[in-house]
Symmetry: D2
């Protein structure tokens, strides 16, 4: 079979590989819609995970079950499924501590295009099919469904971790697809006023549709200062960090109230200086005593998560399709879509490749 | 001044009283909009709190500050304010345990029309004005604002206590104004599918606008059975109990999953039998081992709560005005409005009396 | 092989069965220490679970691994292991909601002597060995180890669910082995003053050693009244219900503060009247508005739980051996031990049967 | 009256001031025992809070009520009281968000020796006496009682914020009085294995008495490496940061599991470089996706907190007196005690000055 792969740092292309083998609890999936992710860009062009050779890329897919192992009970060939970006080893001891995304070590639930071949292939392999697949509900579009595995799950997590109470004020830093999902997630967690920090017109438009009440642009000055001014110097109850460079936490802590949460769902592709660190501001952290908490996480995966997110879409709580700004037809377009993600033209939120 | 009072159990009418005195941290409010509550009905016609004589009724009001004590810093005469139904003694030790509604004993934060005169008067008294008043935002209607002190605060609490995760399924039992607010609150907590149990057409209509996805009527059979059937026997992740008689928890526990929350914001005006108890079903509670938790609370009060709920309205997260089905003009109509609340015609959700 | 079984309601005895078969992820265990449980008594003599025929009893065991399936990685024959009373299906979808004890329906994690043969046998079967077994640490006695699978796990859960803050006051109703473990658990959750309600001298003695500060006996009057009096009418921050009949929640709610948690780890073997219900007091629940929450659960199971509880013993945080008041040698004594549990002589906390 | 003051950065000495005035809800206290704190050292000799002139130092005291305002109900002259280091404005709106230590801006609950005169004086002023004082229980020594206002409250907070479950493994970085209290607090939160990182012999001895199971010294190599090795590379469930320089979070994140909490109760007196930042390690934070959360706080204050901590001591849950290694008699010794705190001889944990 063929796949679209990272050949080495900075280089991508088509390769041939054997079709993956299906263990007793596994499934083999034939993708019907794919989406490239900024993470793929980090992985290939920044070498953020270190070197990788001939690794098939991609972790956002929906598809059709092609084969299942003999212990799989709930899925069969022909089922149309959502595949989470994160597929934890639910039957290992590590899940019992409550951190399924971290099974098998840090970020160990992230298998696709990290330490096994990804989904940009004719076929790909899913571990523990009964626990890591979810049926696509009747009537859901491919474009909507393929936003669920990572964009909605990661974006919503940013809001879920932010300790938002009904009526809390929230700032979302970065309005790519994850940040936009964070805005929608903040509304689903009860946020009142929501500041969206970003400038791309198409993102701004969707941010408003998802519930942003104030748009903040760096072009108008320091973004933290703008938010402080708009809140009479108080700052916000929660900050969701969904973008930015190594210094972004300096802004985040500055605009956060004493007594607040900074929730990160940003993937820090690089750090500051030789020591490769991410700085927190001492004074704006109130010398470590300001009750400003920094919460993180990796995209939640698994079947129940996918089913619940599908329900969010089915019952009209938010419409993920608004983020699918560019649609390609045919697997051969995956390279083009990935490069679009890298180049980020002004009218892009997220490209989708339809295979059927 | 005059007030509309409970004269004794079963009897209401106008009385004359002295204008309340304003202590150093207090405020005296002149109401501009009032709403009667089912609680007033319980208090007067069921004697649910025991006997009361010549107690002015009412705890849902917005108004104008008429006088403030000399230690009040943030409010002045002429300010238009929302007054929470629950006005905790924030400067007492009891708040420090985290239960402001229970200051000074069980339900001690509930002062109006419980153990002091209520708001159905020319003027009424508010303790700790700086902590228990909130400005009405520019442009908010009186009808919307007067839903905040109790309906939104109590209704949302039902959802907040229900441990709803993004995509959870929820059932709301009872679709009066509190139950309807609970539906809106469940959406604000991330609910996916929401079953609303009730039959009144006007309530059903608003329930759908607020986010209910399935309407369940007792006329179609046992409501728990209907919900179990609709969920393939699984039941729901959360049940919000916002109405029903002493036996309502039997239904609630039956439709709740093993591993779920039953969140009560119902005021149990009477119990079962001589022993005055509320029964839980032994088997549907899985013999006490089913991880089905029963959470309760009294309406949260105070300034920050009111401000945050006002933000919910200001930023368009829900529209409380839909519940104000009947509007009266003039304080002299308060008795008529209260009786409407008692009689509950089919087209009523909530009556509002405008005074200005 | 032979096992000690419930033949039918009210009747126990020895039976012969085939040795259980070991699936690919399973283990077969040869017990080395067993403990009968009050649950076994409920099951046999009260028929609390309904009828069962020829079901081998028992769910508290430690033993030696005799056989493992070919997919088991972390255990091998000869390993000395603690076996949790509750062995969840960790590889099923139900765990992902966060309720492992409820996999496969209400109390579905409770398999032994509920819907499969228990541990009072020459050999018994454990599902998902890698996730449901834990090594016995070096130097831990059999008597201590066999308290972990249920007594410590259930008892501690009572305290964990009680929302105890450092310095909270707690009442524990019932001082059998579960209640005593709840006292020790309350200390491990930070309790200050702890009222233990019970009368058996041996239990009282251990209650004090585990951290009870006040012993309350029904012989001195209504237990709730005594606790209210001792706390100047305030009641306690948390009540752990570890015993009592169908009416026990009446006491629990009465002694609980407005703003408190009633944590149940009692197995309600029977309810009140025909309707088989458990009553809550309406007034002492403050009409459903008193912020008094009723939390329940089933004993947590699984490997990580067992490992952590073993650490509690290893690092000297509490000594479970104090509860093993009666020790028998030889598997043939299991019936005698079970009847002791049923008869509960005054000097009994928990009998243990040593097999090696 | 006289007080021991920071004259300017780097300089301390005796000054004369007017006795503070007592407002209607306030109290004036005459101290009977005082303790200098490392914070005083930071404030004076590092200028950590910026410049201060003639500000009386000290925030750890117990004493006798000398005067109360006319609205104070629960305290009267002659009462022996514990005074929390942090005295929040409980009657302000800011508490309602749930962050009492942050009332009136970042760290605003910290008034003594921060922005009002401290407790090293003949008399000092306490705001909101009913909410910020607690009676010293009968029989408690002055040395024990004076550890409660800051050492126990701050130290325990470190453990309370660390999400410790029963049997969790914990590392405590720094074993001064706060770190030692953190060890005791970790036991009260249910910790199993506890690594204490530090070298001072007297502290090591008390650490063991409080429940540390492993002592780690930097003299034996990188402390994080040692802890990783001792845990088979897994790291710990929780790290409590109670000491160290600006780089200490690098160690903390390194030794923390993927899926863990880093709880800070360290006062960062200085940061790294010109930008005055505190660095987090990018890779050991798993690029921001490792579910490693950084939680902070300022010492909790107020009456209920003090009462609960007093109960912890009264009921024998831990013995704070072990930390009072040096006792001085007479107010005139306060300067000597403060310098001892600055110089930290090897046999010091905490000096106490007794005034009566």
């Amino acid at each position: 079979m063929k796949g679209y792969a990272m050949l080495k740092i900075g280089e991508v292309g088509w390769i041939e590989k054997d079709r993956p083998k299906c263990g007793p609890t596994d499934a083999i999936i034939r993708p019907t819609a794919l989406a490239p992710c900024t993470s793929d860009v980090h992985t290939v062009w920044e070498g953020a995970l270190g070197d990788r050779h001939n690794m098939i890329l991609g972790h956002e897919a929906v598809g059709v079950v092609d084969e299942v192992g003999n212990q799989v009970k709930d899925f069969k060939p022909g089922d149309k499924v959502i595949v989470p970006a994160i597929t934890p080893d639910w039957d290992t001891e590590a899940c019992q501590r409550g951190y399924p995304s971290q099974t098998g070590g840090a970020c160990g639930g992230w298998k696709f295009s990290n330490f096994k071949d990804g989904v940009f292939a004719d076929f790909f392999h899913v571990n523990l099919a009964d626990n890591n697949l979810a049926l696509i509900p009747e009537g859901m579009s491919q474009e909507a469904a393929v936003m669920i595995p990572d964009m909605l799950s990661t974006g919503f997590m940013g809001a879920e971790n932010a300790n938002i109470e009904i009526g809390s004020s929230v700032a979302v830093l970065g309005i790519g697809a994850v940040g936009l999902s964070g805005i929608a997630g903040a509304v689903l967690e009860g946020a009142g006023r929501i500041f969206a920090v970003g400038t791309r017109p198409i993102s701004v438009e969707v941010a408003k549709k998802y519930g942003a009440t104030d748009i903040i642009s760096y072009k108008d000055g320091d973004t933290a200062d703008q938010i402080l001014e708009a809140t009479d110097g108080e700052g916000v109850d929660a900050v969701i960090v969904s973008g930015g460079g190594p210094d972004i936490l300096l802004d985040a802590f500055k605009m956060a109230k004493a007594g607040s949460t900074i929730s990160n769902n940003n993937y820090f592709g690089k750090g500051q200086g030789d020591k490769d660190t991410i700085p927190i501001p001492r004074v704006d952290w109130a010398f470590g005593m300001g009750d400003k908490n920094l919460i993180t996480g990796l995209c939640p995966g698994g079947r129940t998560r996918m089913e619940r997110l599908a329900d969010i879409v089915t019952y009209g709580r938010m419409d993920p399709e608004l983020m699918a700004t560019h649609t390609f037809k045919g697997f051969d377009k995956i390279g083009e879509a990935l490069e679009l993600m890298r180049d980020k033209p002004r009218d892009l939120i997220k490209p989708v490749v339809l295979l059927d």
